[in-house]
Structure formats: C-alpha cells, structure tokens
C-alpha cells in the first residue's frame, strides 16, 4: 500500500525532500542478513510505498505533492532531487503561487485555502490515482509560519472530507522556543487545535531538540537547517520504512499508517506522538561504534520515562512508581525529573540480531496509565534490514506526556500575548475572530488537561 506525502510551506518542503532522499538512499544501500529475498522484498515494499515508477525505466518519482505560496523553495527542492540521480519529483506535482502567506495563519487558512483548494486537491487526486492501494496521507508542515500552518490545516481538513476512509498522519515541526517567528505561538495554537479535529495522529519534532542532537550527539559545529532537516528525515525514515510481519521475515507489513494508528491512537483525545531514537551519531563516529540491543533498549526506556530529549544527559534517578502506591501526582510543570506516564508505545527495531532484542522492560504496566488494559500498550515492529547505515537502530514512537511541557509552554505564551491583544488585528484582517482564538485555546487546554491526568 502506498502513502501520498503532502509537503506544505518552506519547512515541509525542505524536510520532505530530505526524507525522500534518505529513503531512496536506504533502499539503494539496503543490506540485511545477506538474505537476498529479504532485501529485495524490503526494497520493493519501500518503493511501492513512496515512489511510483513510470514504465519502470525512468528514475522513480516520489508520491508527493509540493505546496507553497511562493516559488523559491519548491524549485530548490525539485532541483536538488533531480540532481541526486536516483529519484525525482513528478513533473506536475507541485503547486505554488507568487506571494507567501506572511506568517499569518489566517491568511493561509481563510484566504489561500479556499482559493486554491481545487487545484491542490487535483494534484493529490492525481497521486492517489497512481496508487494501487492507498494507505493514507502523510503531511509535513511547520507550526510557526503561515503557509505550512494555515494552509496545511485547511488542506488536512480537505483531505479528511474527500477521503474519509484514509488515514492522515501529520508531521509537524515545532519552532525554536526562543523565536523564529514572533507570532509562532498564535500560529501553533490555531494549527494544533484545528488539526486535532481532522487528523488521525500528529507526529511532533521540536527544532530545539533536534538542534541539541546535532550539537551534542552529531558534533556539528556550525549547524545549518540542512543538518537539522537531515536528522528529522532520518527519524521519520526509521518509522516509515517497511517492517516485517510477525509471521516471517520475508513478508512486510502492508499498511504502515493503519497499523500505526491502531497501536498508538486508541482515544481521540490523545493524538500527540513524540519520537525518540537511539543511537544517533555522526557518520565518522558510527564506523567505530558497536551496540548491543539490551544496552540500547535500556537507554531508550530511561529516555522515555525521564523525559529525556536524547541519549545524553539522561536522568537515571527517575523510576516508575511502585505498584500499590498512590497514583503519580498531577503535572505541575516545574520539575524536569518527572516520571513520564505513557498511553501507548511503539518500538521499531532495525538491524542485526533483531529477533533477539527483548522489549519486556517496556511492557511494565507501571509505565502506563491505569485505565489502559495491560498488554496492549506496547507493540514492537522488527526487521533485520539495517537502516541508513546504522547496524542497529531502535526507534520509539510514544503517545505519552513527552510533549506536555512544550505544549503547555506554547499555550501559555500565546495566552499571554492574547491577553494584550497584540497582533490580533493582523488575524482579524483575514477573517479570524477573537472567538475563534478562544475556541482554539479552550480546545488545547482540554488536551493539556487530558494528558496531565494520564
């Protein structure tokens, strides 16, 4: 089954191009347990999922629609893809206008959305028609700007209306805490509250976290957005590339999005997914490192329960509450060393000796909220094919309180700004009222409350 990717705005298009790059390179370099059938099946599954081949002779073209309100980024993305030689974007798969959205969510949602809905949905339809079977949509956008956030939200709604039976996974990039765009908190609040209604799950990347990874784990001195995007693409690739069915290693799961939703999103109030993976390092260091599954999984588990952003600086003092004791105290938002209660977790293991990896520690009911029946909270996917040159790679997709603090912080700052009504006139100009703002705030406070009470 195939996934159609919709890349929205500058961020979405830049990361999207890196993602397809990582996936094609992974397929080209696929090496497994020297089992040729396995590798071929992996490659074929991944190709069908992300690329359509016209007549089998041309370079595969990505199943993607590129949308932006101004042309510079899209032309760059298309050119970079073509230069790679191993994949490209389809010829008529992009939509752009001449003038951007000006970082104004209302402009993207109320003006550009309805105006360009038909043209963009036509492009989507064309991609969908090329798929034998559609698993669903993967949209990529940032929260800070105007097009990705505003137009992206509108298009997600359109996708939901037009394809009510397909899954929609929204990948969103949260901006740096210390400001890339001044009205980013407004844009984030408006986007998340609306996405909650039409999306199936929201997979979050925070620029701050990825930046730290680049600095401390990858040892990059002068970090550029390209570096940040490459890390995000690597993490996404490790989630979306094929994994084996439980029966045999040569059979690959067909419905990645459906499976993801089934395991991760059991309740419509809880749609925020965080992502952690281990190990993460620069290419030079990779050549000299060796890992064991028990070591990796132990670190990953502690990263999960101690709210760690990455594998360095993990607080090992945090422990799950002992059974029989009173429930964990409510979230107050002050202390870093909180215990992270999960709703559900998905472990994706790729590489050598993967069958031997034991995820038992993740099945501990103490990690999970009390109202979830034990046993259904942890799922594991495996494949012996190594991903992106990492001999062993463990990825954790988590529906837990990992994003609670960042979300609370965004809503808090947006509320403060709203209290003084700053910038509100810019949004009202395009059709959003103060009442709409209040609705969005209410919706997100509800989400925060639900996650706090896990």
């Amino acid at each position: 089954m195939s996934i159609v990717t919709v890349q929205l705005g500058q961020c979405g298009n830049q990361i999207g191009q890196e993602l397809f790059d990582v996936i094609s390179k992974d397929c080209h370099n696929a090496q497994g347990q020297s089992n040729k059938t396995e590798t071929e099946a992996y490659r074929a599954c991944s190709q069908e999922r992300f690329f359509s081949e016209d007549h089998g002779k041309d370079t595969p073209s990505a199943r993607a629609v590129l949308v932006d309100m101004e042309p510079k980024v899209i032309s760059q993305a298309i050119a970079t893809a073509a230069k790679s030689g191993i994949w490209k974007y389809g010829e008529q798969s992009f939509f752009c206008q001449k003038q951007g959205s000006g970082n104004n969510w209302a402009n993207g949602f109320c003006v550009h959305g309805p105006r360009h809905e038909r043209d963009i949905m036509n492009l989507v339809r064309r991609q969908v028609e090329k798929c034998d079977r559609l698993s669903g949509f993967f949209t990529m956008m940032s929260l800070a700007g105007g097009t990705g956030s505003g137009l992206g939200t509108y298009m997600t709604q359109c996708l939901r209306d037009t394809y009510p039976h397909s899954f929609i996974l929204n990948q969103v990039t949260w901006p740096y805490g210390t400001g890339e765009v001044i009205v980013q908190n407004y844009n984030s609040v408006l986007t998340l509250s609306h996405l909650y209604q039409s999306s199936d799950a929201i997979l979050v990347h925070e620029n701050d976290t990825v930046h730290k990874i680049c600095a401390q784990l990858m040892n990059i001195k002068q970090i550029s957005f390209k570096d940040v995007n490459k890390v995000i693409a690597h993490q996404l690739g490790s989630v979306l590339q094929p994994v084996c069915t439980s029966d045999g290693t040569a059979e690959y799961k067909r419905n990645p999005l459906g499976d993801l939703m089934e395991t991760m999103v059991c309740h419509p109030e809880f749609k925020l997914l965080g992502l952690r993976n281990i190990p993460q390092m620069s290419d030079t260091a990779l050549a000299y490192s060796a890992f064991t599954w028990p070591g990796l999984l132990k670190h990953l588990r502690q990263m999960l329960i101690a709210h760690a952003k990455m594998e360095e600086g993990i607080d090992w003092q945090v422990r799950p509450p002992l059974p029989g004791l009173p429930a964990v105290e409510k979230f107050t938002g002050n202390k870093e060393s909180r215990f992270n209660t999960s709703l559900s977790n998905l472990l994706i293991l790729r590489g050598k000796d993967v069958q031997s990896a034991d995820q038992g520690a993740f099945a501990d009911p103490a990690l999970y909220t009390s109202w979830r029946p034990p046993g259904s909270s942890i799922t594991t996917w495996r494949t012996p094919i190594a991903f992106n040159r990492y001999e062993k790679l463990a990825t954790l997709v988590s529906n837990s309180q990992l994003l609670l603090k960042p979300l609370d912080s965004i809503v808090g700052r947006a509320w403060n700004m709203f209290a003084s009504r700053a910038y509100v006139h810019q949004y009202i100009k395009y059709g959003i009222s103060e009442g709409d703002f209040l609705d969005s705030f209410t919706a997100l406070e509800q989400v925060i409350s639900s996650y706090s009470n896990l």
């Binding site: 510079k72 400001g179 002068q222 550029s224 700052r413 810019q426």
Partner: protein, 474 residues
C-alpha cells in the same frame, strides 16, 4: 516572485532613490553573471525591448536582459533633481512616463505640497501608479522614499501615501522617512514633519525613520577608519557609504549618506529576491513587527559598516557583527535600543551564516535587552544566502522599540515652540483647504502616539504576572 515599486518624492526622496537604483544594479550585476533576466531582477526591474517599440518582455523570464527599466515613479515639484538623474548614467533606467514634475517647488510648505499640488496632480499620479502596477505580475509592496522636513517630500509624499491606500489597499506600504535633525536649516521643518507624521501613523504599514545626523555620524566613523591608515585599513568599496562599482562615477555630496539608506532597502528586500534557508518576505516583516496598528515605527541598523582590507587579519568575528547591530552608534536614528523596551525585533542575516550562529548570538544578547512582557521571545529571523557586494555576511536589524519616543518628543517640542508663537502659520493657513484643525489634529495624533509608547515604557522592568489560564472542568 513578487514585485515592488519605488515611489520617490521630493529632492531627498529622489536623491536617495537615485543611489538605490545604482546600488541595486551593482548588486544584481555581481550575482547575475550570465545576463539572464531572472525572478530576482524582476522584483525591481522590467525587461524591455526598446527596439521593438518599448515592448515589455518581462513576462518571458529566463530571457537575456535587453534593456532594464526600473519599477519606479519619480515625483518632484521642481525639475532640477529629476532632470539631473535623467541626464546622468542612470537615465536609461527610466522613461518619461514615470516622471511627474513641476517647476516652482513647494517652498518648504507641507500645505502647498499636500493640498495645492496634491489636487493638481492627483489624477496624473494615480495614472502613473496604475500603469506601473499593471506592469507587475504580482505587486506586493510600495516603497515610498521622502523627507519629512521639506514641502514636496513631506506634503505631496504623504498625499501619495493616501492615494496608495485608496487605490491599492491590498499592497503594503513601507515608508522610508528622513527626519530633520535639530539643527535643520529649514525653519518650518517641525510643522512639516508633524503634519506628515499624522499621515504616516494613519496610512502607512511600516515606517523606517532615518535621521540625517545619525547618517552623518556613521559616514564620519567610516571615513575616520579609512584615513587612520592603521592596522584597520578598510576596503573602500565595501563600506556601506560607498557607491563604487556602481554606474555613477562622480560622487556627489550627500551620496555617502544616501548610500546607507539605499543599502538598507536592499537588505530589507534581499530575502524576498534571493534564496535562503529561512526566507523572510516583506509581508512577514509587516506581520511580525507590527503588534498594534499605529505602532509601526521601526528603528533600523546595518552591520558591518565595511570589511577590512588586510586579508591577514581574520574577518571581523560574526559575533561582533551581532553586538554592533544593537549598539547605539549603528542605529539610523539617534536612539539607544538598549534603553528602550522592545516590542519586536527582526534580524535579517545575509551570507554565510547558519542557524546555530544566529541562535547563539540571540541567546548571548538577550539578557542585555528588555522585551515587553507578552513578547519575551519576540524575535523574527531570516537567513538569506546571498551577501551584499564585497561582504561575506551582513546583518540588518529592525526593532519596534520605544526608543523612538525621544525623537518624537523632541519633534513635538520644536513644533510647539513655533506653534505657540504662531510663527509662519499664515503661510500654511493661507493655502486653500488648510485649517487650524489640521494642526491641532496632527499634534494630538503625535501626542497620543507618544502616550502609547509611554504606557509601554512604564511596564519596563516590572515583573508582569502571567495572565490566568482558562480552567477546564475535569
């Protein structure tokens, strides 16, 4: 890709505009080696085939450059300045239909510029603007350049602003206004400035105030550096006051100062024209830097002022560039942003700078700056890959900061000094359409603007409590 039109009014406006076109050509020619008319060029220039009877072939981007015409409208009520431009090397950039001139000038009288010439030339101006707008595929912004102290730039310029708002409400209006210094030789400049300020507050989207004295100080600083002959010898052509490499050969007085303003406009539009890893378009500037409709006065600063000539000395550290952008010596008006309260700040970085450098410097400089309580992280950032000519990187900082308040207060003081004595008032009131109300309204508009800044300043340094959050019933 969007287009912008430059409207230059009055002597100051046209002289600055002249430098702008010269430096714009210089910038594009240093990047565009193949002579292809690309999108970046189209934002300010049209591609015209003069042999085929002035046929506009701008729509065919990707073609070779035939003859470039500036997207500009030049207005002056006396012919001297505009004629000189036409006769000079830049003359080919314009055609006669873009000019509106008269003979006698406005006599340093806002009322003459605004009311008299306003009504006489209104239709012609609308016609000219319309024509320029029609030649644009997607018009995004009007750049108005003028001075506040005179008659034409100030009076007719603000009338043009009104026209722009009426005729093209969707298009942004960014105004570069040169404010008179205290020792200005035009006695009635306070009247002209205050009357014009009212129009700017009501009708502009963004105003970039510039003070002549600040420009003079910067120019002197650079000249001092270049004449010192010490280790810090600089590359002449990289100084922001330099017009070297441009079309005009002879340097005229005021050119050094006007080049600074021209460079400001070039940096402002750089991300809209060229590619980068984090684009910052003009509509993003007007969106992020204007939290309340009337508070749209942005203090600007440009760094570095020059590059060093000696290649053995490591180029000025990046961090120094960021620190300089916030120092009072680099601001284009006499103001110290560190003493004021920031409502919002934008950093437009050009050249070989990455996001980590940007973040590091923001973290470093934040503690020394005060931001308003509801916008503690009020930074808007942009990264453009193409640096200005002769530099490897540069920074433009735009600040919506209460430090403009002293400038406005001084202006009001000088106004009141004259107004109380009713000095020169009759020159204005004699003009048809001018009444005492115009003055009282103008000064009250300025007063309420100052008061708004005052209220914000009062919150500086206070610990503001967070607004209580909504309570959700569990």
């Amino acid at each position: 890709m969007t287009q912008s039109i430059v409207v230059q009014v009055g002597q100051c406006g046209n002289q600055v505009g002249c430098r702008f076109w010269d430096l714009a050509l210089r910038e594009h020619s240093s990047i565009n080696k193949k002579g292809i008319y690309d999108d970046a060029l189209s934002s300010f220039f049209r591609n015209v085939d003069t042999r085929a009877g002035d046929e506009d072939c701008s729509g065919l981007s990707g073609k070779k450059i035939q003859s470039l015409k500036a997207r500009a409208v030049l207005i002056d009520m006396e012919e001297g300045v505009v004629n000189e431009m036409l006769k000079g090397p830049l003359g080919e950039l314009f055609d006669s239909k873009q000019f509106i001139t008269d003979v006698s000038g406005s006599g340093n009288n806002w009322a003459v510029g605004h009311k008299v010439y306003g009504s006489t030339y209104r239709e012609q101006i609308v016609e000219c603007l319309r024509k320029a707008a029609e030649q644009c595929d997607c018009l995004q912004c009007f750049f108005l350049i003028h001075s506040m102290g005179g008659g034409t730039g100030s009076g007719l310029g603000t009338l043009v602003l009104n026209i722009l708002k009426d005729e093209f409400p969707e298009v942004y209006r960014i105004v570069t206004s040169v404010y008179p210094s205290a020792e200005d030789d035009v006695i009635t400049s306070p009247y002209n400035s205050v009357l014009a300020m009212r129009e700017l507050t009501e009708h502009a989207d963004c105003v970039l105030p510039i003070e002549n004295q600040a420009l003079v100080d910067i120019a002197n600083k650079i000249k001092l550096m270049s004449h010192s002959g010490k280790v810090g010898a600089i590359k002449q052509e990289t100084a922001i006051i330099s017009g070297q490499g441009g079309v005009s050969v002879q340097e005229k007085p005021f050119d050094a100062m006007n080049n600074i303003v021209a460079n400001l406009l070039l940096s402002l539009t750089s991300s809209a024209r060229f590619e980068g890893s984090l684009n910052m378009d003009l509509n993003e500037i007007t969106m992020n830097l204007v939290p309340f409709p009337r508070l749209h006065y942005l203090v600007s600063s440009l760094t570095p002022l020059y590059t060093l000539a000696d290649v053995n000395i490591p180029s000025r550290r990046l961090d120094q560039m960021f620190s300089d952008a916030f120092s009072k010596d680099h601001q284009l008006i006499h103001a110290n942003p560190k003493h004021g309260l920031y409502l919002a700040c934008a950093l437009m970085v050009r050249g070989n700078v990455q996001v980590s450098d940007l973040r590091r410097n923001i973290e470093r400089l934040k503690p020394s700056l005060s931001f308003v309580s509801w916008n503690q992280e009020g930074w808007k950032t942009g990264l453009c890959s193409i640096p200005p000519v002769g530099h490897s990187h540069s920074l433009l900082a735009l600040a919506n900061n209460t430090c403009v308040k002293p400038t406005f207060m001084e202006l009001k003081e000088r106004f009141m000094k004259l107004y109380k004595k009713k000095a020169h008032l009759h020159h204005y009131l004699d003009v048809d359409g001018m009444e005492q109300e115009c003055f009282t309204e103008a000064v009250s508009s300025l007063s309420s603007l100052i008061q708004e800044y005052d209220q914000l300043d009062a919150t500086k340094g206070l610990i503001m409590e967070d607004a209580p959050r909504l309570n959700i019933a569990v």
